[in-house]
Subunit: 266 residues, 2 copies
């Protein structure tokens, strides 16, 4: 069972989940965190459900061996495919990013037409339409997989001609459908928020699930009396590829140095 | 030791190595081939040398258990980082794609300035400059990592505004340096050949190492008397992620159906 003095475990396929990490530590500064980026096998978004579930289980196992009290699946693709398996199999609470993102979108839309962009895996899973149907039945969902957004963000091409052309090609069909809310259904996409906002126009509100996920984590901790009883809050970063590139690209997400970063083989 | 009745083992991080597979089977139709695409861990081009070497060793082990007589490292990044380790550790001959590509470029250049494009890993390894220095000392090499080319090819955006803008941004600096030969140092890039050729202009000759690699394989087989003594030639495709997406995207490389494709866990 979960021990309140344990940390919050967060995993993502790479650095993208740091957007979720940042919101969680801002909201719960007294909690220790173990963040795992599966950088040797990144990305998850192009892989099959079977492979993503297998990797998600391996990430969860590794974090549980580090005595976490709650698991956050900070990757949309892993949340889309593996939430049910993890919630059934683990003895600690599990929070994903899809349900909080869907809730934020349902609260934001006025037109009742919500756009969702994400990886090929997230979109094909239908996880967002299912989650939105469970919250607000009359919402209509328009989805689009945007496989080039992750490499664009990782290349650092977040402004200018290329990202504008890519965003236009991905979004124009969705805009024609009358969306007024757009879920950034991948933790990398907040890095492209300015160009996505520019192409989408001022009438479309962008929803990033990181903040809403932190709200959900805080709620679960309160409800289950899992708040840290007083141990000093620590942060550990674990990665499956070498730490250097994670340290470097992680800075773009956190605007500060990441340390220590430990290499784990699993 | 290598047994002539065994097949040729080819591995790549995914489907890209099929460009090499195609050249090998065209040149050596009497030989059996086992092709392994490590689609669960693709891409290699963004990973560290340590991780790429680890994956390359695992691929080699799996193929050797299938009784291959010769190993082709059809991935530029794996060739760049793991050739030495594989050649030292394996009892069968190993052929990579970097040395054949370098040889083709050295033969093609008139100006003595050769451009090399590839993944971040291939470029940072310095494998092409080293190989070119060993063949033709006076050649000057200009390199550029092009991380967006692989996702563009996989998205199927091989013509139009976006790939043109991306190719222009990657290549303009190299063209200013006076290259007259450009090595497509990643097995995915031949899919973007038309747009790369258009941006590079008619004065620049594109070199794709697949054909030259097949020449090298045929030479090694002849030199070591490893030609198939008469068993029927077979083809097997192995993948570490589920077969469906490999089958689908493999068709873009081979213009025919891929069958059978077997899922292997390693």
């Amino acid at each position: 069972m979960a021990d309140p003095s344990g940390g919050i475990g967060i995993f993502d396929s790479g650095v993208g989940g740091l957007t979720v990490y940042r919101q969680i530590t801002a909201r719960l500064p007294q909690e220790s965190v173990v963040y795992l980026g599966d950088t040797a096998r990144v990305p998850y978004g192009t892989k099959s459900p079977e492979t993503v579930v297998r990797y998600a289980r391996a990430c969860a196992r590794l974090l549980i061996a580090r005595d976490i009290k709650l698991l956050v699946v900070a990757c949309n693709t892993a949340s889309a495919f593996a939430m049910q398996a993890l919630q059934e199999e683990l003895a600690i609470p599990v929070v994903g990013v899809v349900e909080p993102g869907a809730r934020a979108a349902a609260a934001a839309t006025r037109s009742g037409v919500v756009g969702v962009i994400g990886t090929a895996g997230t979109v094909s899973s239908g996880a967002y339409p299912r989650a939105l149907a469970a919250i607000a039945p009359p919402v209509r969902v328009v989805q689009r997989a945007c496989p080039l957004f992750v490499p664009l963000a990782e290349e650092g091409w977040t402004a200018g001609k290329v990202p504008e052309a890519v965003a236009t090609r991905y979004l124009e069909g969705m805009l024609d459908e009358g969306i007024d809310t757009l879920v950034l259904g991948c933790t990398h996409y907040p890095l492209l928020k300015p160009v996505i906002a520019q192409v989408a126009g001022p009438a479309v509100q962008l929803v990033d699930s990181a903040e809403e996920t932190a709200v959900a984590v805080a709620r679960v901790i309160a409800e289950r009396a899992l708040g840290n009883p007083g141990s000093p809050a620590t942060t550990r970063f674990l990665v499956s590829d070498t730490p250097e590139s994670f340290r470097r690209s992680g800075q773009a997400f956190l605007d500060r140095e990441l340390d220590p970063v430990e290499w784990v083989d699993f």
